[in-house]
C-alpha cells in the first residue's frame, strides 16, 4: 500500500523519467543486445543491420507505453526489467569478448 502511494504521489515525475531517459536507454540497450539473439539471415548481417533500423521503433514503443500506461507501477517494472535484462546480456557479451 505504501509503495502504491509512493507511485501515486510521484506519478508525474515517474512518467517523465520513464518516457524520457528510461525509454531512450531501453531503445539503446535493446539495440545493443539484439545481435546476440536476432537471426543472422541469409547474408549473415540481419542481426547487425536490423537493430539499427529498429532503434527508432523501439524508442517510440517504449515512449508511448510510458506516456499512456494507466498502471505506472507495472510500466516501471516492465520497462526497467527490459532495460536491465538487455543491459545484462550486452554487458556479459562485452565482458566475455562475445
Amino acid at each position: 500500500m505504501t509503495q502504491w502511494n509512493w507511485f501515486d504521489r510521484r506519478a508525474t515525475v515517474v512518467r517523465w523519467l520513464l518516457a524520457g531517459p528510461v525509454a531512450l536507454l531501453v531503445a539503446f540497450v535493446v539495440m545493443a543486445a539484439m545481435p546476440l539473439w536476432f537471426p543472422e539471415g541469409a547474408a549473415g548481417i540481419d542481426h547487425l543491420v536490423l537493430p539499427l533500423v529498429l532503434f527508432p521503433v523501439i524508442w517510440a514503443a517504449a515512449f508511448f507505453y510510458a506516456c499512456l500506461a494507466e498502471n505506472l507501477r507495472r510500466a516501471s517494472v516492465i520497462l526497467v526489467g527490459v532495460l536491465l535484462a538487455n543491459a545484462a546480456a550486452a554487458g556479459w557479451a562485452v565482458w566475455s569478448g562475445a
Binding site: F28, M31, A32, A33, M34, P35, L36, G41, A42, A43, G44, I45, D46, H47, L48, V49, L50, P51, L52, V53, F55, P56, V57, W59, A60, F63, F64, C67, L68, E70, A90, A93, V94, G97, A98
Partner: protein, 529 residues
C-alpha cells in the same frame, strides 16, 4: 478515430504540443533544409551551371587511370575510387588506409579532378579523404546545405545526435497527431473557415498536418535511423558483437575480401569491365572502385543507379586481373538479405529519390507542408499563451526563423556565386548564409510591426531568389540557349522556378498577386482562446 480515455487524450495532446514546441524551430531548420536537400544533386549541377557530360564515363578511361596510378606512391594504389562531382568532372581518389594524427584509420591519398571528355587534370589535391573531398569548390553549395540538414554543422557526433533527437521528437509528434485526431478522414478535405483568424489558422494546420502525417512518420523514422545508425548504432553493435573490432564488423557488412595475394599482376582493361558492367546492370555506371591495383587479388566494383522499377542497387564485381565478371553483389553482405534490402530503402524513402524528379518534387512539396505544419503548430501553441512574457518572446522568434532561414539559404547561394570567380566558394558560401541570417535577425529586431516585418521579409526573400539565377549567369554560368544545347535543360527550369518564386514573394510584399492567383480574406479577428 482511436478510442482513448480523456486522461490519455490529454496526455497525447500535451506530447503533440510540447514535442513541436520545445525544439520546434530547430525541427523547422532540419525540415526546410531537408526539403531543399531533396534536390541536392540538382542544386550541385545548377550551381555548376550544368554538367559537362551526362555520362562522365563514356570516354575510354583506362589509359588515363594507368597514367595517374603511375604518378602516385605505390601505397596509394591500394584503393582507387572513381566518381563524378557536381560539375560532372571525373574525380579519381587514389588512396591507402592509414592512421591520422588522432590514431584513427582514414583514407589518405591523391585526388585528381579530370575533364570528363578530354581527361585533362583540372585540379589535384593530396591528403585525407575528409580534407580533399570536402575541398571541392563546385560542391560548396550543395555540400553546405546537405551538412546543415544532416548535422546542423555541429561537430561529429553531436550534430548527428541532435538531428537524431529531432527525428525522434518528430516521430512522437506525428504518432500523437494520429492518435488524437478525432476526424482524420474528414480533416483531409476540410475547407479552412474564414470566420476568424484562429479558426482559419487551426483548420489550415489540421489540413496540412492530416495530409502530411504518413509522410512525417516516414521522414522521422528514416531520419532518426540515418542519424543514429552511424553515430551510435554501428559502434554499439560492433562493441557487443565483435568486441569493438570495427574492421571485423565492416568486413562482415560489406563482405569478406578474397584471401590476400600481393603477387604483382597487371590490371585488366577497365573500359572493357565498365562496358560489361553496364550491360549486366542495364544502366550506365555512376562510379567504380579498384581494390589492390597491380596485385593478383585485385577486384573492380562498379556502381549503378537502381534499374527502372527497382529501389535496391546491386554492384557488379570483376576479377581485377582476368577481368572476369564475378557477379552482382548487394551493398551489404555477399548475397541478398532482408537487412540489406531494408537498409537500402532508408535513403530513397528519406530523400524521395526512388522515382526520379516526380518523387523528389512530391517529397519537396510534402517537406514544405511539414515546415508549414511545424510553424503554424508553434504559432497556435504560442497564441494560447500570449499573456506570458516568455512565450511572447518565442512568438517573436517564429517569423524571424520562418522567413530568416530561407533568406539565409538564398544568401549562401549568393555568397557561392559571388565568390566563384575568386575560387573561394568554400569560405563565402557559409559566410553568405551568416550575413543573410544576420540581416534577417536585425530586421526582426528592428521592425516591431508584424505586418511591416512580414512585407519586408517577403521582399528580402523575393529579391534574393531572383538574384540567384541572374548571378549564376553573370558570374560566367551558361545561358539558357547553351544549357538547352548541352542537354542541361533542367538547369534552365531551375532558374525559372526561382524567378517565379522570387516574383511571387515580391508581389506579395507589395500587396499584388500573380495573374490568376486568388486568395480569400479572413474577415473577422477573434481573440485567442
Amino acid at each position: 478515430m482511436i478510442a482513448l480515455s480523456q486522461r490519455r487524450t490529454k496526455r497525447l495532446v500535451a506530447i503533440h504540443g510540447w514535442s513541436g514546441t520545445v525544439l520546434g524551430l530547430l525541427l523547422y531548420v532540419v525540415l526546410l533544409t531537408g526539403a531543399v536537400a531533396v534536390f541536392a544533386l540538382q542544386i550541385g549541377s545548377w550551381s555548376a551551371s550544368g554538367v559537362k557530360s551526362q555520362q562522365p564515363f563514356a570516354q575510354p578511361l583506362d589509359g588515363t587511370l594507368r597514367a595517374l596510378a603511375a604518378q602516385v606512391p605505390a601505397e596509394y594504389r591500394d584503393d582507387i575510387g572513381v566518381f563524378s562531382n557536381s560539375a560532372g568532372h571525373i574525380v579519381a581518389f587514389l588512396h591507402a588506409h592509414t592512421k591520422d594524427a588522432d590514431g584513427e584509420i582514414g583514407d589518405k591519398g591523391v585526388l585528381f579532378e579530370l575533364h570528363p571528355e578530354t581527361h585533362e587534370i583540372l585540379a589535384q589535391r593530396e591528403g585525407f579523404a575528409a580534407d580533399v573531398l570536402g575541398a571541392d569548390p563546385w560542391g560548396a553549395l550543395d555540400d553546405f546545405l546537405v551538412d546543415l540538414h544532416i548535422n546542423l554543422h555541429l561537430p561529429d557526433p553531436w550534430g548527428l545526435y541532435a538531428t537524431g533527437v529531432l527525428g525522434l521528437l518528430m516521430l512522437a509528434s506525428a504518432i500523437s497527431g494520429i492518435l488524437i485526431h478525432r476526424h482524420l478522414i474528414k480533416d483531409l478535405f476540410v475547407a479552412p473557415r474564414f470566420s476568424s483568424l484562429l479558426l482559419n489558422a487551426r483548420d489550415r494546420h489540421n489540413l496540412a498536418g492530416s495530409w502530411g502525417l504518413p509522410f512525417a512518420i516516414v521522414l522521422a523514422f528514416t531520419g532518426a535511423f540515418l542519424s543514429f545508425a552511424l553515430s551510435l548504432g554501428l559502434p554499439t553493435v560492433s562493441t557487443v558483437a565483435f568486441g569493438g573490432d570495427h574492421a571485423a564488423m565492416i568486413e562482415r557488412l560489406v563482405g569478406a575480401p578474397e584471401a590476400a595475394d600481393p603477387t604483382p599482376a597487371p590490371l585488366a582493361d577497365i573500359d572493357v569491365m565498365l562496358a560489361a558492367s553496364a550491360k549486366a546492370a542495364g544502366s550506365a555506371p555512376t562510379g567504380f572502385s579498384v581494390h589492390h591495383w597491380g596485385r593478383a587479388d585485385a577486384t573492380v566494383t562498379v556502381f549503378h543507379e537502381p534499374p527502372e522499377g527497382d529501389l535496391t542497387v546491386a554492384q557488379q564485381v570483376f576479377d581485377g586481373v582476368s577481368g572476369v565478371h564475378l557477379g552482382s553483389k548487394p551493398p551489404l553482405g555477399t548475397e541478398p538479405s532482408v537487412g540489406s534490402a531494408v537498409f537500402q530503402l532508408m535513403i530513397p524513402l528519406h530523400f524521395g529519390t526512388f522515382a526520379g524528379m516526380l518523387s523528389r518534387t512530391v517529397w519537396f512539396a510534402l517537406g514544405l507542408a511539414m515546415c508549414y505544419v511545424t510553424l503554424t503548430g508553434l504559432q497556435l501553441w504560442l497564441q494560447r499563451r500570449s499573456d506570458e512574457p516568455l512565450w511572447r518572446h518565442l512568438a517573436r522568434a517564429v517569423p524571424i526563423f520562418g522567413y530568416g532561414l530561407p533568406i539565409a539559404i538564398a544568401g549562401s547561394g549568393i555568397g557561392f556565386f559571388l565568390s566563384l570567380p575568386a575560387d573561394s566558394t568554400l569560405f563565402w558560401t557559409p559566410v553568405g548564409f551568416l550575413i543573410a541570417a544576420a540581416l534577417a535577425i536585425a530586421a526582426g529586431l528592428a521592425v516591431r510591426q508584424d505586418r511591416t516585418l512580414s512585407q519586408l521579409y517577403r521582399l528580402m526573400l523575393g529579391v534574393s531568389l531572383i538574384a540567384l539565377p541572374l548571378l549564376r549567369m553573370a558570374m560566367g554560368g551558361a545561358g539558357w540557349e547553351a544549357l538547352a544545347a548541352s542537354d542541361n535543360t533542367a538547369i534552365a527550369i531551375f532558374d525559372l522556378v526561382l524567378l517565379l518564386a522570387g516574383a511571387s514573394f515580391v508581389l506579395a510584399a507589395i500587396g499584388r498577386r500573380l495573374p490568376g492567383v486568388k486568395t480569400a480574406r479572413v474577415t473577422e479577428r477573434v481573440p485567442a482562446e
